[in-house]
């Protein structure tokens, strides 16, 4: 079972690296969708692969939302605002891709510094969760398009969700529902706002949103 969790964790890391290095927004949305589906499988394997109706339903909900609904909403927004790719991010793709594994190494170190007081499923989960959170934050600050920032936000949420899975059996469902609600509404509202930004400005470059200063 250890191997299947590790495989999922490595897949998550690889998807994060892809997001750091890809410029096509459409591909990025597909990668985020794949990440959502991968995360949806996580609850099924993380607690020893025992069949449990609550976890199965939860997993189905995650796959449906993160894997299907959000990507559809985002690609709808992308088509609507007619933005194909992220041009000239603040930090280049090559640098981002190399920074990725280094950040992962830092997260591994952090993970070893803060040992979980729980009987943990896999020592990979915590560092990968941190890494995903860092990637999400990085995407938010280094990309210019509003759509990429929303993607970064979803990646950030995915990281927090990964961390939350460690606690899935410890704390009641509330926490998980909180994440779903949060992401759902955030994407929904942000989608509307992107639409409005586009209508007002004819672009979704947030770095050009700079009339408000000091």
């Amino acid at each position: 079972m250890d191997n299947s969790i590790d495989t999922i964790m490595v897949l998550l890391v690889l998807m994060n690296l892809m997001l750091l290095g890809l410029s096509s927004l459409g591909t990025c949305i597909r990668v985020v969708a794949a990440q959502g589906i991968t995360l949806g499988i996580l609850p099924l394997v993380i607690h020893g692969g025992i069949f449990d109706i609550r976890l199965t339903l939860f997993s189905a909900a995650i796959v449906g939302l993160k894997g299907i609904v959000f990507p559809l909403l985002l690609s709808w927004a992308m088509r609507d605002v007619n933005a194909q790719r992220e041009v000239e991010p603040f930090i280049g793709y090559g640098k981002s891709v190399i920074a990725g594994p280094l950040a992962l190494a830092v997260c591994m170190w952090l993970g070893s510094r803060l040992p979980l007081p729980l009987d943990i499923v896999s020592p990979m989960v915590m560092p990968v969760a941190f890494f995903t959170i860092m990637c999400g934050l990085f995407l938010i600050v280094s990309r210019k398009k509003a759509l990429s920032q929303v993607l970064g936000y979803i990646v950030l949420e995915n990281g927090i969700y990964t961390f939350g899975m460690v606690l899935a059996e410890k704390q009641p469902l509330l926490v998980e529902l909180g994440i779903l609600l949060d992401v759902f509404v955030a994407v929904f509202v942000m989608g509307i706002v992107i639409f409005h930004i586009n209508r007002e400005f004819d672009h979704i470059d947030t770095d050009r949103l700079s009339s408000l200063r000091s």
Binding site: D2, N3, D6, T7, M9, V10, V13, L14, L17, G21, Y93, G94, V97, I98, G100, P101, L102, L104, A105, M108, S112, P123, M124
Partner: protein, 303 residues
């Protein structure tokens, strides 16, 4: 030292050109053509060896030495790589670094002889070759370091012998990452699509082919031969990782490795038929991605 292991080098010399044949046949099948004979590379090489060579007045001995030294270096590198049931002829601590630098020497000589012609096209090809191999090398070495850490050996034969079906059972992610990184390195080092197109003859886009434009006759034969050998060499390292059959039965191990090489050639053929060459600007990204995969694998085995 195991004298019988010289069979590895003999096998490489005998079978390496066949890889080209298989790749070309796969591409032909995909394109719906009959294609060249499987042994076309052998015919080409023997034809070239029978011809005379033409040398430009502006070139020096470096130009003549390049192909021969390059071939010799790649041939020498084959003695460090185990294949199938046989360990490598030479095995000592850190031999994989020697292997990598024999390949480096071969590339260095090719680049020198390309520069020696004084042609601007060849100089451009040389600069591209050097750039891309500089980006590919970290990926290869870090990947090897990860395997060394995983198996606890720093010699290529025990390193590859240390990987077996059981290691895929509990370290599958790391090994898969290394395999993927090595595959990208293999494509880049051997100038295959998506890094370089071995069929193109437009000087502006070529990398490897443009460097050897001025070579003719036996020199060109050596160059083609050494590039097939290089493919074989890197392929056998890759196959050592992804087809780790160590049953102890010599025949079974060797046959499975040979089948692995056959599969590898087919996969390369499929990639060449389905993908387009990347824009030159995107090649570094691909290689950096491969480096990232290797680092990730190293991080995974280090924890």
């Amino acid at each position: 030292m195991n004298l019988i292991s010289i069979a590895n080098s003999v096998l490489a010399v005998l079978l390496a050109p066949l890889m080209f044949g298989i790749i070309n046949r796969t591409k032909a099948v995909f394109a719906g053509r009959t294609g060249q004979p499987l042994l076309q590379a052998y015919y080409d090489i023997s034809k070239l060896f029978q011809k005379g060579a033409v040398y430009s007045n502006t070139t020096t001995w470096v130009f003549r030495a390049g192909p021969i030294v390059g071939f010799a270096a790649v041939l020498a590198a084959t003695v460090f790589v185990p294949f199938g049931g046989l360990p490598a002829l030479f095995a000592f601590k850190g031999d994989f670094v020697v292997m990598v630098y024999f390949l480096g020497l071969a590339r260095f000589m090719t680049v020198l002889s390309a520069l020696d012609t004084g042609s601007s096209f060849e100089g451009m090809g040389a600069s591209r070759e050097v750039t891309f191999s500089a980006l590919a090398e970290p990926s290869f070495l870090i990947g090897l370091a990860a395997i060394a850490k995983y198996t606890g050996h720093i010699s290529l034969s025990p390193m590859l012998a240390g990987i077996n079906a059981a290691s895929w059972g509990h370290a599958a992610p790391a090994l898969a990452l290394i395999g993927l990184a090595f595959f990208v390195v293999l494509l880049a080092e051997n100038c295959r699509i998506p890094v370089d197109d071995p069929n193109t003859h437009l000087e502006l886009t070529m990398i490897h082919e443009v460097m050897v434009l001025d070579h003719s006759g036996p020199d060109l034969g050596f160059i083609i031969y050494s590039s097939t050998l290089k493919l074989w060499l890197l392929g056998s390292v890759l196959i050592g990782i992804i087809v780790p059959v160590h049953s102890g039965i010599f025949l079974l191990d060797t046959v499975s490795s040979l089948l692995g090489m056959l599969g590898l050639a087919v996969v390369i053929g499929i990639i060449e038929s389905t993908m387009a060459r990347l824009r030159l600007l995107h090649v570094p990204q691909l290689l950096l991605g491969a480096t990232a995969l290797s680092i990730l694998a190293l991080v995974l085995v280090l924890r």
